[in-house]
């Protein structure tokens, strides 16, 4: 009763060889604890809805080369007069490759005086960071920065 096994193996090898010969089949790897660009897009959609996000007005200050991903200083500043009629409503920060796409949501108002916040974040990998600001007129503005991380904030770390 070994015959079926062998033929299955042969079929498999033949199939694998055929796939390799095609050479155009994308490699699929399973990485559950990681946000994907699709998750990033979904997280951004859940904040902005169907509104258009334009580039500009937002400045994302973060070191381009990070030694320790466990604590990365970050400052987001938004160009705005911060008056009662024209102010920054909120600032949202997202990432591409941490287990979750969200980093933080910050809600400001006309009394903030300056559309700027700072905090320290964790980065699990070299990746793109996106900051989106919502202004009082309902428009969304964004900035993104690519960060290289030498020592990742390790999610699989054993303690």
């Amino acid at each position: 009763m070994r015959e079926p096994d062998i033929s299955t193996r042969r079929q498999f090898l033949g199939l694998a060889g055929g796939v390799a010969a095609l050479g155009a089949v994308p490699m699929v790897t399973l990485r559950p604890a990681e946000a994907t660009p699709a998750m990033l897009a979904t997280a951004i959609r859940s904040v902005v809805g169907t509104a258009m996000v334009r580039t500009g007005k937002v400045k994302l200050d973060i070191p381009p080369l990070v030694e320790n991903g466990n604590t990365v200083p970050m400052t987001v500043s938004v160009l705005s007069p911060m008056t009662a009629e024209d102010y920054v409503k909120s600032i949202h920060v997202f990432n591409e490759k941490n287990p979750q796409p969200n980093i933080g949501n910050f809600y400001l108002g006309p009394r903030a005086g300056r559309g700027q916040i700072s905090t320290r974040i964790r980065l699990a990998d070299s990746q793109k960071i996106v900051a989106i600001a919502q202004l009082s007129d309902g428009s969304f503005w964004s900035a993104s920065v690519d960060v290289v991380v030498t020592l990742a904030a390790c999610t699989d770390e054993v303690i």
Partner: protein, 106 residues
């Protein structure tokens, strides 16, 4: 034991834009790390931070596991009147902490 560090200028001129710096000691356990035996360590983070200026909310933040341990947050406000800033941190496992600081506006 949780403790807060707050930096608010003691005095300011009316209309000045002042910077407020806050730090709360907290582990901010992500919920993605494992012990040596492979068990997932449950999430334990601060999820929300608010600042009120004489009772009116001027700043609020939703925090996620991607915020580093001992969340440090700085923001700005206009010194409008003398009074008090109240800071509140709320988190997992019933974590609540508050702190306050006063300011004299001339």
């Amino acid at each position: 034991m949780a403790s807060a560090l707050i930096n608010v200028p003691a005095k300011a001129k009316r209309g000045d834009i002042i910077e407020i710096k806050t730090l709360m000691s907290h582990i901010m356990e992500t919920g993605y790390r494992r012990t040596a035996t492979g068990e997932l360590i449950p999430r334990d983070i601060i999820t929300s931070f608010t600042c009120r200026y004489n009772g009116v909310e001027i700043f609020r933040a939703d925090l996620f596991p991607a915020i580093a341990a001992n969340p440090f947050i700085t923001f700005f406000t206009v010194a409008a009147e003398s009074g008090k800033f109240d800071f509140d941190w709320i988190g997992d496992n019933g974590f609540t902490e508050s702190a306050s600081a006063s300011i004299a506006v001339e």
